[in-house]
Amino acid sequence: MMRRTIPALASIVLLAGCPRQALFVVLPNAEGGGAGAITVEDGKTATILDQPYATAESRAGSSAPVEESRGNISVIFRSAIAAQPILPHHFRLYFILGSDELTPQSKAAYHAVFDDIKQRPVYEIEVIGFTDTLGDLPSNQALSLRRAAAIRDTLLRDGLDPQAISIAGRGEHDLLVPTADQTPEPRNRRVEITVR
């Protein structure tokens, strides 16, 4: 037992005697939903950090968990966090059956998408169209692309940069709500928009 304890103690003393080389911290997730998780591998050990403010450091090529106060963490990373741009946001808008026209509710929701884009100094927008399983594959493929194109046209009419918008259609693939074939499902008749 002693034989195993002594080298462990010796390595702690060794670690403490060297200057810190790197610091790794898990932060609370930006928009809710718990904490991140990272694994710090130094070739000898793997340290898993998966709680908010869990911290590890490297000294002399070895890494180990350490305690670091939230105050220190926020001082060390204040500038890096201040440099963070507005995070990417995702939106879903829904369509009338068989049509590339938004539902009345989604017409209202479109304004939130536009407002989100306008608050960004530069933006990229991805619009992906989808359908439900009613109808055949080729016509659903075409309809999904028309839905994405309809949103792009609205964004362009509202003055956004055509080069910043990309569109795609996935037809009845990647259903939001899994259904059997030939099933009308309002939540599957949608576009998914990523703004970043």
């Binding site: 200057p19 810190r20 080389q21 790197a22 610091l23 790794f24 911290v25 898990v26 932060l27 609370p28 997730n29 930006a30 939903g33 904490a35 991140g36 998780a37 990272i38 694994t39 710090v40 591998e41 130094d42 070739g43 950090l49 998966d50 490297s58 090529g61 890494s63 963490i73 060390i76 990373f77 204040r78 500038s79 890096a80 966090i81 201040a82 440099a83 963070q84 741009p85 507005i86 995070l87 990417p88 960004r120 100094p121 530069v122 990229e124 991805e126 795609a168 990523t194 970043r196």
Partner: protein, 150 residues
């Protein structure tokens, strides 16, 4: 013989075309700059400007008062504080299935990360290398400081 030569040439051309295309696709865009920040690309250093696109092998760098925020095409967000240097060594991403891989080399400074589609869809595929350790990222928000004098 002639046919073999022609085939070899065709294969070479095709391969060159593919790698050229892969390397010229942007992988990220600069969204925010404060103070001094620069991009190192094939030996040239140019000032970082909001809206500029970034490519594989680019290195982002900040001065003593600088900061830079970028977003990758998989929605991973990097933001670096002063006196930082981060090389975007490897990046692949398929926007159809959200799978890919990335490796960034953090040489010094401070970096805050919000991981994106690659870390979410492909466990173990997002890595951040520091001089002393490699970080595997399972998501989503974390920060790293690498001291300059190691």
């Amino acid at each position: 013989m002639r046919l073999a030569l022609w085939l070899a040439a065709a294969v070479l051309t095709a391969t060159a075309g593919v790698s050229w295309a892969a390397e010229t696709l942007p992988i990220a865009q600069i969204k925010k700059v404060t103070g001094q920040a620069a991009v190192l690309r094939s030996g040239d250093r140019r000032p970082a400007r909001v809206g500029d696109m970034l490519f594989v092998k680019d290195v982002i760098e900040t001065g003593p008062d600088g900061g830079i925020g970028i977003i990758f095409i998989d929605n991973t967000v990097f933001s670096a504080g002063p006196s930082s240097q981060i090389a975007l060594d490897e990046f692949q991403f398929d926007s159809n299935d959200f799978r890919g891989a990335m490796l960034a080399d953090m040489r010094q400074g401070t970096l805050a990360v919000v991981s994106g589609d690659i870390a979410r869809s492909t466990p173990g595929a997002m890595k951040l290398r520091t001089p002393t350790a490699i970080l595997g990222v399972r998501g989503t928000t974390f920060a790293v400081q690498v001291y300059g004098d190691h």
